[in-house]
Amino acid sequence: MADENISIEPLARVEGHGGIRVEIKDNKISDVEVRILEGPRLFEELVVGKTPQEDLSIVPRICAICNLSHKYAALRGLEKAVGVSIDDTTHLYRELMHHGEMIESHSLHIYFLALPDFLGYDNAIAMAEEYGDTVVMALQMKKFGNKIMRMMGGRMIHGENPVIGGFSKLPSEDMLREIKEEATELLDFAVATIDLLGTLKIPDHMERDTQFLCCKPPGEDYGYYGDLLITSDGQEHPVESYKSVIRERVVSHSFAKRSMYNDRPFTVGALARVLLIGERLKGKAKEAYDKLVNERWNRNPLFNNHAQAIEQVYSLEGIIEVIDKILSGEKATIAQPKQETGIGTGAVEAPRGTLIHHYEVEDGKISAADFITPTAMFLDDIEAFIRTGGERLLASDKTQDIRLHFEMIARAYDPCISCSAHLVEVVYK
């Protein structure tokens, strides 16, 4: 291939406005940039001077798809800062809310954003002619996730029902039983999705070793939050030390803030979670894990789609389990703050990876805030995989679908450009 710049802009089927630019010189990749084209919104500045409750209604607006993950990370950080400890049942309701978001986001990504590439379509609607049943069931799955987000959040997107210390309004027992029944009904389709993904031929051109990071859930079970970060080198780090674990840096020619662990790029998201804590899975999710996971997963980001499908099974089973516990547990109440000044770091697993909200609160008002989003963490890793894949494709002269291959790598991470846009692309000159 002659010297050229491949510019893929806009990058389709991702959340937000971004692009990919790849520079080729002497049949080698000389530069790769995943471009973030949205303007800065400066959320860390917007929340300064606000009360914790005001913050809770502002920060979910960073991202619509994972708005409840932002709310949850903020709650975990702010509640530490102002000395709130929630009861066990409230905790279960938050898990239920989080499961809902995982199903909403993962089903959107698996069936509507990623699968069309593997099956050769521009979008999932076009896919419906041949894969009608899959698309109809996928819509049902997504609708189910949204139903839980609406029930716990107070609205499908950007609801205000989760408050400091608990939830303003709790669902009725009938509603919980209805949700449990629907989760049970959807399990067959979630398992069928595992089989469908198992039949896909996954390209290997980009394979390279990388690192993984996720929250370590407390206890013995799989889960989507924790106060420890674990990494694929076997280390554990308290979440409060996030700044020394996830090192942000500036590169001279492209993006400003990028994240590295031990000076190398890393992966977060479903793939990282399944590889780091997948041994904790039980039931049908464990069966799915045993069926799909192999050693290529450590080197190939396209398996993130498969990992999301495993988590889809896990979350449906998790919903059933959590609802059983809620129905037999104590009534939840709203816990009150014990102090007006303090510091707190909250971490949760958003669908696309570890999300950190750090707050400093003084006399009831936020004096400083820092947010690190999953997309900001894995942008370096996407570029590294595009570089490796591109060089192999160029060397073996298989460049016919090179643009699609680059897009598929980026899309596999389920990037959220809105989330990362506050770490806007900059050039130092």
């Binding site: 389709a12 303007g39 500045e45 917007l46 209604s57 798809i65 819509l139 950007h158």
Partner: protein
């Protein structure tokens, strides 16, 4: 009807959370019908290979926050017969516009990004679409509501004019028979906020934060006085009210805040 005769629609996202485009994607019962009834030429969040030419209706989400977005907006306006501002960011500027025109934008930008940064596309202070182009219809909300959105889309693709909806959140809150949160001295700004959300938050016992933007018929001065009677300072009240009103709420606060 062949696909060439269907109205041509483009759906675009500028700076925001993509929640309005997501809401359309999440309308599971209607999305297949929408793709059947209209020729969706460009909807990058949902589909690859967009066609960018003349449009019957363009829906644009997000605030204008970079120089590149200003140019892109002008370009969309030129080829769209009808332009709809979709969501609070496109209509009012969104939360990122809560301090617009306070003269401290450059300062905030430096605090987040540091000194001496050269951006790939120059950022500009967040503004709604109509700060730059003529907007035909507004679909407010954070995010937009499904009933309002599909009512508007249906009318536009059949060549009819959408109906205005000049009602405050309180209108819907009353229909839902909620106890008024102001009676309990809760900081609710439903009376000065445009409805359409179905009073989603008060239905859950949480006060309205104003995310649909200002209701032009609202009695701002009286509401500020009422909130002051709860023991809050004027600064505290204005800070909270400005969370979602963007740059457009300022004039009501100046006119009505006396």
């Amino acid at each position: 009807m062949t696909s060439t005769e269907k109205p041509k629609i483009g759906i675009y996202g500028f700076t925001g959370c993509a929640g309005d485009q997501l809401l359309i994607i999440h309308t599971e019962d209607e999305i297949l019908n929408l793709f059947g009834a209209a020729n969706i030429q460009s909807f990058v969040m949902a589909s690859s290979n967009p066609t960018e030419d003349e449009l019957d209706v363009a829906f644009v989400e997000g605030s204008v926050s970079t120089k590149e977005e200003i140019e892109h907006l002008h370009e969309i306006r030129k080829r769209a017969k009808i332009l709809v501002a979709m969501g609070n960011c496109a209509t009012n500027g969104g939360p990122q516009a809560m301090y617009t025109d306070d003269g401290k934008y450059e300062e905030r930008l430096k605090r987040v990004y540091g000194e001496g940064v050269k951006f790939v596309t120059d950022p500009v202070e967040a503004k709604p679409l109509d700060a730059y182009v003529n907007v035909d219809y507004y679909l407010p909300g954070c995010p937009i509501s499904q009933p309002q959105t599909f009512a508007l889309i249906s009318r536009l693709i059949h060549g009819a004019a959408p109906e205005p909806y000049p009602h405050p959140v309180c209108h819907e809150c009353k229909l839902n028979e909620n106890r008024c949160l102001l009676l309990d001295n809760k900081f609710c700004i439903g009376p000065i906020t445009l409805g359409g959300c179905g009073s989603a938050c008060p239905n859950h016992g949480v006060p309205c934060v104003g995310c649909w933007g200002p209701n032009p018929d609202g009695n701002f001065s009286q509401h500020l006085k009422l909130l002051e009677s709860f023991g809050l300072t004027r600064d505290e009240i204005l800070r909270r009210i400005r969370g979602f009103g963007g740059s457009k709420i300022i004039k009501y606060l100046i006119d009505g805040g006396n």
